[in-house]
């Protein structure tokens, strides 16, 4: 048998994993491999199968078919308490009848033969130090704030030096500012301990900011697996483009296409051209498709001040302007395109003078948009 250190360079591998609940396919023929020491996220709306995937790694669920491997060894049929993984639960699941130190040392105390009590105390102190909560060992878990409980849960998992650390929406219960802090801290912690982290979240910002790789899930399937840059710059379809960052979508049918891009005719009769996504498939003429344009790609100008070189430009009416500090968002109604969201940086000269009700020209360069398949 290979020891966890040797063998595969992947810490978690799914091969054609299927898991049903009653007649719902929660995980539907999913395969992926997570590199040792990486920070991976599963991103998707509730019910997409991301939490079930995590529970399959933890051992709380067993696959109906396919295989789950941890550090190169199949763990199918292995119960949770024999797997070298630890989880940070959504609501932390700290034991209320124990103090913080007993919570953190729980995993070490289950080892057989039982570890030396002084050694456990030492490691607990070190783990609390790691999550920057020294001197709180004697407190009860429920006396702590949400952020502190979060750190205790992290310490309780990390003290066992698991092969994989699982995080089930760990930041969902925290307020926005604390969430940002914990994101940075989690990322630093992951680099410090070098353990593979697997995070489940529905918050795309969270996934993008922390992960080395992301799996976007929908209806039990992984729609796209890649780095945050790949997902943002080269989504495989509309679903991914919609879930990662924000996009305007102009749907229609493919009028013509070549190897590099397609022209799509909208229901209002406009024809818009855009290149294919680097990682998306090619489109067939007549197929339903969409042009995705990020809000920051679109420009706004006063009529008559339109620069040369725009591939697409349409007259539009400004409906609303939302000030967001370093940038502003503009909701406009463009002729033939309907409502469009535009994002301009704070110091853009064009954006300064615009007020709701103004007539403007909106436009973008075709190579900055993407032609994508629907769904």
């Amino acid at each position: 048998m290979a020891s966890p250190e040797s063998g595969s360079s992947y810490d978690v591998e799914f091969r054609s994993v299927v898991k049903h609940f009653a007649d719902v396919r929660a995980v539907d023929d999913v395969s992926f491999a997570l590199k040792r020491g990486s920070f991976h996220s599963f991103l998707g709306p509730s019910g997409c199968g991301k939490t079930t995937s995590l529970r399959l790694i933890a051992g709380f669920e067993q696959p109906d078919s396919g295989s789950v491997e941890i550090a190169g060894q199949s763990v199918v049929g292995v119960p949770a308490y024999r797997r070298p993984v630890n989880m940070v639960f959504q609501h932390y699941a700290l034991f209320p009848h124990m103090d913080v130190a007993s919570n953190v040392g729980y995993g070490l105390r289950q080892r057989k033969p039982r570890a030396d009590a002084a050694e456990i105390d030492k490691q607990v102190a070190a783990a609390l130090e790691l999550v920057r909560l020294p001197h709180l060992g004697k407190r009860r878990a429920w006396e702590l704030s949400g952020g502190q409980q979060q750190r205790v849960a992290l310490a309780r998992a990390l003290i066992n030096r698991p092969t994989v650390l699982l995080l089930d929406e760990p930041l969902a219960a925290l307020d926005r500012k604390l969430r940002r802090e914990m994101q940075i801290e989690l990322q630093n912690l992951q680099r410090e301990v070098g353990i593979t982290f697997v995070l489940v979240t529905h918050d795309q910002e969270e996934a993008l900011s922390m992960s080395d790789t992301i799996g976007i899930m929908k209806d039990g399937k992984v729609v796209q697996f890649g780095t945050p840059e790949e997902l943002y710059d080269a989504p495989v379809n509309r679903y991914v483009a919609d879930f990662v960052g924000e996009s305007n979508f102009f749907s229609g049918s493919v009028a013509s296409c070549d190897d590099t891009g397609a022209a799509i005719t909208t229901p209002s009769g406009l024809t818009l051209q855009a290149p294919f996504s680097r990682l998306g498939g090619k489109l067939q003429p007549g197929a339903k498709a969409t042009i995705a344009v990020r809000p920051e790609v679109i420009g706004l100008w006063q009529p008559g001040a339109v620069p040369a070189g725009l591939d697409i430009s349409r007259p539009a009416r400004l409906l609303n302007r939302i000030y967001l500090g370093d940038h502003s968002e503009f909701q406009i109604e463009a002729d033939g395109l309907g409502p469009v969201l535009v994002r301009l940086p704070k110091h853009s000269t064009e954006g300064q003078a615009l007020e709701p009700g103004d007539q403007v020209i909106m436009g973008w360069k075709r190579e900055r948009a993407l032609a994508l398949s629907e769904a």
Binding site: A58, P79, A80, Y81, H91, A93, P96, Y106, Q110, R156
Partner: protein, 272 residues
């Protein structure tokens, strides 16, 4: 108006009890004529050998019945957790019905069931016994303990079930995630989480058994429990001694009930 009304309600509720407590400290001979303050009757009661025998019976019955009810009720409550669907509804219904059946019905039913069983068993025993004097099953400790255990078990099931329902399931998963096998999880997480409910169930079972008159009266046979002793001595007239016994029993029961309440409340707080 309403205020006076509710004051009267509580007056009617507690005045008789207060009277018993007050008259238990009467040093005179008459139960309804307060003469001097004194604890003479408490001493008298404490030296009454009949009363002491009944008290001993009561303690033996209550202790045995409540321990049995707590163990079996807790086990049943945990096992019921894994029963799903219509069967669970039926079990739940049966548990609640067991508590609502009037004591007199339980008393008669248990009496008839026991006597019938004993008769049949004694006949068989007499037939197969090798010696001359076959053991004879009859009413006594065993029958009171059995009847009380059955009723108190339903109490424990309901209390522990409520505690299980309020428990965070992810605690059990967290324990498994931290390498504790199912037995270790039960010992280190499930049982401590259920403990306030279990102890409260034990205290309620104990006070129920200790205070019960109706069921015990039917199935006691020749054994006297304290409530049966009090009932039979009242027929010879109410003495301040009865007041003293009543006050002591009440103090004991109240302490147990309040402790149970505190445990049930405090037990529920920490699990957010």
């Amino acid at each position: 108006m309403l205020r006076a009304y509710s004051a009267f309600i509580y007056l009617f509720l507690y005045a008789p009890i207060a009277l018993i407590v007050v008259f238990s400290f009467n040093s005179g001979n008459n139960a309804s004529d307060f003469q001097d303050f004194g604890v003479d009757w408490y001493f008298k009661a404490a030296n009454n050998s009949l009363m002491l025998a009944a008290l001993e019976n009561s303690i033996i019955v209550a202790a045995t019945a409540s321990v049995l009810a707590t163990i079996m009720g807790t086990m049943a409550a945990i096992a019921l957790q894994n029963v799903r669907g219509p069967l669970r509804v039926i079990f739940d219904g049966l548990t609640y019905i067991a508590i609502m059946v009037p004591g007199i019905v339980i008393g008669i039913a248990t009496l008839i069931a026991l006597v019938t069983t004993f008769d049949a068993a004694n006949t068989i025993l007499a037939g197969i016994w090798p010696g001359d004097a076959p053991p004879k099953l009859s009413l006594g400790y065993g029958s009171i303990i059995a009847a009380h255990t059955l009723f108190a078990m339903a109490l424990v099931i309901i209390i522990v079930r409520a505690r299980i329902a309020g428990m965070d399931r992810s605690l059990i998963e967290a324990s498994a995630d931290l390498y504790a096998d199912p037995l270790a999880t039960f010992r280190q997480v499930t049982l401590p989480q259920l403990m306030p409910g279990i102890v409260a169930g034990f205290l309620l079972s104990f006070t129920f058994s200790f205070d019960d008159f109706v069921i015990a009266f039917f199935v006691a046979g020749s054994k006297n429990t304290l409530p049966i002793y009090v009932f039979s001595s009242i027929r010879r007239g109410v003495t301040p001694e009865i007041n003293a016994i009543g006050t002591a029993v009440m103090l004991f029961s109240l302490t147990a009930l309040i402790t149970a309440q505190i445990l049930l409340r405090r037990g529920n707080k920490p699990t957010r």
